[in-house]
């Protein structure tokens, strides 16, 4: 990797409990930041199905369930996991520095998708 990744502090580790999600806005991008038993993850903050804020959804078993139509995505890969969601979410790397949660807005598409 020759790209210089830019990390932005977006939240504190205290801002999220396990199986929790909050919305963050970075560079005009609305993102969802999750904490699960496997760590911290970030995806696009708006559902790919119809306009709905994922921060109002439910997190369980590394899955975010959209509040609007209960479409599901794996927060680790962004992959759509259940109807009516078919299109996956972009994901963003998250790192923990002390109590700071930092993300890089170098978006990643799930493997096997454009």
């Amino acid at each position: 990797m020759t790209t210089l990744e830019q990390w932005v502090r977006v939240a504190s580790t205290d801002d999220l409990e396990e199986d929790d999600v909050i919305e963050i806005v970075v560079d005009n991008l609305t993102l969802a930041l999750y904490r699960t038993r496997d760590g911290y993850f970030a995806t696009d903050g708006i559902c790919t199905h119809e306009h709905a804020r994922l921060c109002e959804g439910f997190v369980f078993d590394n899955v975010i369930e959209c509040p609007k139509h209960q479409g599901r995505f794996d927060v680790r890969s962004g992959k759509a996991r259940g109807a009516p969601a078919h299109i996956s979410l972009r994901t963003y790397p998250v790192r923990v520095t002390g109590t700071d949660l930092e993300i890089s807005i170098e978006a990643k598409w799930p493997a096997s998708e454009p």
């Binding site: 804020r53 109002e56 509040p67 609007k68």
Partner: protein, 421 residues
């Protein structure tokens, strides 16, 4: 029974599309033939009365794009099944062709209940069920028209919201004492009615239409009510319920009683034939009570169960039905089946982001909930109730009553009771 080689699916809606997709996902590589009377591949029907009606855009497609190497699904559009023979395991199509099957899924859906009034066949009396209906309605709404809606159910109110948002004057006529009597609590319904009134919609409840008034040319000019008044209208949209398309199954000798009777595996009275979606009537308990639902999420889940069951998986359908409605910027969700005579306890406030939640109790037991918020803030509360009901939790009536009005406290109580299990 041996695993099937050939599956036929009759229907072109959500249940048909989900079942076909699920069969492939479960590794079934045999032949799948889907026979649909509609002229377009399966699409998201739920948008026809909401976003698609408002935007004029075609609804999103549901037909799966299969990965390389997975056998295609044979989709026969514009084709009707005229009969089927359970003994010979074959279908007869409208073009005379016969198709054999090892397993058959009947996902025939339902028909809008027709208005039987003088003038009901006038030009301008419309129904909304499929792609074509939606195009016709949308084209009528492109002109400056007065709209009358007969039936204050979810479809009626969703169309009212779209039509008034598009700038039309809308009257809603409901025979019952209030709108949404079958779907949501009185407080949720009145929140929506207030919102509709702010948009200029006029409601006429506890009054029945007696005739459709027409011009000499046979065009709609209004709806006559029992009190003798006339509501002027150029377009009448009828949303008074749906009737399951179970006739074909009845003719073939399957058990039918206002819906095709299935068991918890979505199997009909014939061991090779399954059914799913709006067309079925299924057991809700072990003592023979049955129910017919008219909603998207149960249809999808039933289709998944039917697909797995026909491949021999041990699955069963039991569900606490969940649904939603969009009207203006209000978001409605329901879980469970709202009984008309329930004890209702309200929490929260529709003017706050978390919204208003109504719990419905029968004999002291929580059976359903409905909520409304501006934006999707109500979703978390509804999801908690859904999880409690799915997990078989019996929240204590006194605890629910003690938290009356306080949505945050109710949420904490439900979360605690879920964790306790």
């Amino acid at each position: 029974m041996s695993r099937p080689d050939v599956v036929a699916i009759v229907g072109g809606g959500h249940a048909a599309a989900i079942a076909a997709t699920e069969l492939r996902r479960l590794g079934f590589n045999g032949q799948i033939t889907v026979v649909s009377t509609e002229t377009v591949p399966p699409y998201d029907r739920t948008t026809l009365s909401k976003s698609s009606l408002l935007s004029g855009e075609d609804p999103p497609r549901l037909w799966p794009e299969l990965d390389k190497g997975i056998p295609e699904i044979d989709l026969r559009l514009g084709t009707t099944v005229t009969s089927f023979d359970p003994a010979a395991r074959s279908l007869t199509l409208s073009n005379g062709e016969q198709i054999g099957y090892d397993r058959l899924l009947l996902a025939l859906g339902a028909e809008p209940r027709r208005l039987s009034l003088p003038g009901a066949d006038a030009d301008g009396v419309l129904y909304l069920r499929n792609f074509q209906d939606a195009r016709v309605l949308r084209s009528r709404l492109e002109r400056d028209v007065r709209v009358a809606i007969i039936g204050g159910g979810l479809i009626g109110l969703e169309v009212a919201a779209c039509a008034s948002s598009l700038g039309h004057h809308v009257n809603v006529i409901e025979a019952g004492n209030r709108v949404l009597g079958r779907s949501v609590s009185e407080s949720v319904a009145s929140t929506l009615v207030d919102l509709h009134r702010e948009h200029g919609v006029v409601f006429h409840c506890a009054t029945a239409p007696t005739a459709i008034a027409t011009t000499p040319e046979g065009l709609v000019r209004g709806v006559e009510l029992a009190d003798g008044s006339l509501i002027d209208a150029d377009v009448v949209v009828v949303g008074i319920g749906i009737v399951p398309r179970d006739q074909l199954a009845a003719e073939a000798g399957l058990s039918v009683a206002d819906g095709i009777i299935v068991n918890a595996q979505c199997r009909t009275s014939d061991e090779h034939i399954y059914a799913a979606g709006d067309v079925i009537r299924f057991p809700t308990n072990d003592v023979g009570e049955t129910i017919r639902l008219e909603a998207w999420q149960p249809a999808c889940r039933q289709a998944g169960v039917a697909a797995a069951a026909m491949l021999g998986y041990s699955v069963s359908y039991h569900d606490c039905p969940w649904g939603w409605s969009d009207q203006y910027d209000a978001f409605v969700q329901t879980v469970g089946v709202h009984p008309p005579d329930a004890e209702v306890i309200d929490y929260g406030d529709p003017r706050t982001p978390r919204g208003l939640l109504s719990l419905s109790l029968v004999d002291g037991n929580l059976v359903a909930a409905a909520g409304v918020s501006i934006g999707s803030g109500i979703a978390k509360s509804i999801r908690l109730v859904q999880m409690a009901l799915d997990a078989g939790r019996r929240p204590v009536r006194g605890e629910l009553q003690a938290r009356r009005g306080d949505l945050a406290s109710l949420g904490q109580y439900l979360q605690r009771s879920l964790r306790a299990g």
